[in-house]
């Protein structure tokens, strides 16, 4: 065992509590949000307790400390991703990061490589979370650009057969997820990035389900934008990240304090990135908490976390597939996937299954997982999803399986 899960769990206070009349908590919903270690909870609290002041503004010691803590967190995120600090923008979450990109592109001056017209195309995929679909639908509607997409094959992979038609000479943006939050599919980026760059399009990567779970180096990925949410990476809610190597070319999205260079009654000019994209007093305590989360993950080691999750996913897939009528929705080949595992169990509706599992202390997510077009395409109105993280272990899988078998009897 490369990861000492028992020791890790001691750092996460939530595992001390029980649910539903004294049942041990089996938390299999980290794909929705992860649990937090004490170091993260303390970092956020300590910011308020000891260093709270508006960053980049006050002429006093607390303001200096707050600025150091906030900018320190930015540097931690940057080195975690193999990036430079100037390339990191703090947002409220991945949803805001994606909206920021889409709105900023909508604000681009005509002639800029980001400006879209009715001749241009935006490419997404059928497996996107609503957060990486609707902002692009809306941008297409505002600019007249055409929205096209890669389809999903029945086995849960993207259909890349017609990649050269889907990404055409008119494509300006390709936005896709790194790992599907429903299927667990990890998308092959090389071919997509190569084709997008060949036609001069930028690639926006939704890394919500990959950055928390595997080592990521933005330079190796070759994408132009990458976003993730802190709360899925053992960090606080209310903070997300936008990384990009082309921020300097992009106009702002939100306007106000801190993002300006000069202001008169009639006009304003913008600060350089990343400040240009951080209007207003930012989410300082949350960013500092995210810094602590990254310290924690780095100390455990992202390669070790990844390896642990792969072993665990293998075990979950094997055990789950032994359950009669249980069907995995997504690839079963470990090479193609991560640790979000969706499934259906016979005719039991996922909502009913989830309710039963909850009565046994097992927390899963059920429904369309904010990827409604995907579940529609696959012909399953809803699925049950177990999503894993560094603090999960094999016996939890056995308890899940046991609870599913009991549910089958209950609803028989």
């Amino acid at each position: 065992m490369s990861l000492d899960v028992a020791t890790i769990r001691k750092d996460f206070p939530i595992f001390d509590r029980t649910v539903r009349d004294g049942k041990k908590l089996i938390y299999l919903d980290s794909g929705a949000t992860s649990q937090k270690p004490n170091s993260v909870i303390d970092a956020e609290g300590d910011f308020y307790r000891f260093h709270n002041a508006a960053v980049h503004r006050g002429a006093h010691q607390l303001a200096e400390e707050a600025t150091d803590a906030y900018e320190g967190a930015r540097s931690k995120v940057a080195s975690f991703l193999g990036a430079r600090a100037e390339e990191i923008v703090f947002t409220k979450g991945a949803t805001e990061s994606l909206n920021l990109i889409a709105y900023a592109m909508g604000n681009a001056a005509s002639g800029s490589r980001f400006a879209l017209t009715s001749k241009d195309q935006i490419v997404v995929t059928e497996m996107e979370h609503h957060a990486n679909l609707i902002p692009w639908q809306q941008l297409a509607a505002r600019t007249g650009a055409q929205l096209t997409w890669f389809e999903v094959l029945p086995d849960g992979r993207l259909d890349l057969n017609s990649i050269n038609e889907v990404i055409s000479e008119n494509t300006k943006v390709v936005a896709l997820t790194h790992q599907s939050n429903v299927l667990g599919t990890i998308n092959p980026l090389d071919a997509i990035v190569a084709r997008a760059h060949e036609v001069g399009a930028v690639v926006v990567l939704d890394a919500c389900q990959s950055v928390p779970h595997m080592p990521i180096d933005v330079k190796t990925l070759g994408v132009d934008f990458l976003v993730f949410s802190g709360h899925k990476a053992i960090g606080p809610t209310g903070v997300g990240v936008l990384w990009s190597s082309v921020l300097e070319e992009l106009p702002p999205f939100l306007f106000g304090g801190s993002m300006i260079e000069n202001v008169t009654m009639k006009s304003a000019t913008w600060a350089p990135a990343p400040k240009r994209f951080e209007a207003g007093v930012p989410n300082m305590a949350q960013a500092v908490g995210l810094g602590a989360a990254i310290d924690y993950l780095s100390k455990v080691g992202m390669d070790k976390i990844h390896e642990h999750e792969l072993l665990l996913t293998k075990y979950f897939l094997e055990q789950l597939q032994k359950v009669p009528t249980l069907k995995i929705i997504g690839p079963t080949d470990l090479e193609l996937r991560g640790s979000c595992i969706s499934f259906t169990v016979g005719q039991i509706h996922p909502h009913d299954l989830g309710q039963y599992l909850d009565s046994q202390g097992v927390a899963v997510r059920t429904g369309h997982h904010c990827a409604w077009p995907l579940t529609r395409k696959l012909g399953v109105p809803a699925t049950t999803r177990a999503s894993l993280y560094l603090y999960n272990f094999e016996e939890e899988c056995d308890l899940l399986v046991e609870a599913i078998v009991k549910a089958q009897k209950y609803f028989a």
């Binding site: 009349d21 909502h351 009913d352 309710q355 009565s359 429904g367 809803a382 609803f411």
Partner: protein
């Protein structure tokens, strides 16, 4: 298991396995389509009246046992009631769903629907139980517009 059994009463599982009035009639006065955006459940609901009395309710849809049982119960309970009676039964049911487990429901008014009282202790499931009833309320409003057009003000 007590909590769970209060949610999944026998009556509910029976309606789920053998739903009443499921399968859409070819003829209807109004048809509405409702969805539960949080879980993706969908229902199509056909309603017909004669002289203000509900003469037919048929429906089809996909959903969990709670949503399916709840429509099944409603489709039976509201039949042959006037739109006004049915509307007030729906209000009583909606109130029960928001009672957070403090009410049992009046079996004289709600009949089988009192079996859904346990749902009110599970906030995430209230919308499931209400899906069919909201479809009914919507259909009732439309049928009134269709059959009792407001003549005041127009000639």
């Amino acid at each position: 298991m007590m909590e769970l059994d209060s949610l999944y009463q026998e009556v509910i599982l029976d309606h789920y396995k053998h739903p009443l009035n499921k399968g859409l009639s070819e003829e209807y006065d109004v048809q509405v389509h409702h969805i539960n955006p949080s879980c993706g459940d969908e229902i199509t609901f056909n309603l017909s009246t004669e002289g203000g009395i509900i003469k037919s309710i048929t429906w089809d849809g996909v959903g969990c046992s709670i949503s399916q049982a709840s429509v099944s119960i409603a489709s039976d309970l509201l039949l042959n009631k006037t739109l006004e009676q049915a509307g007030s039964i729906a209000e009583v049911f909606i109130e029960l769903m928001h009672s957070k487990g403090t009410k049992d429901g009046d079996p004289l008014v709600l009949e089988d629907a009192v079996a859904l009282a346990g749902v009110s202790k599970f906030p995430a499931r209230i919308k499931c139980a209400l899906l069919g009833w909201m479809a009914f309320k919507d259909a009732a409003v439309r049928i009134k517009q269709l059959k009792e057009p407001d003549t005041r003000g127009s000639n």
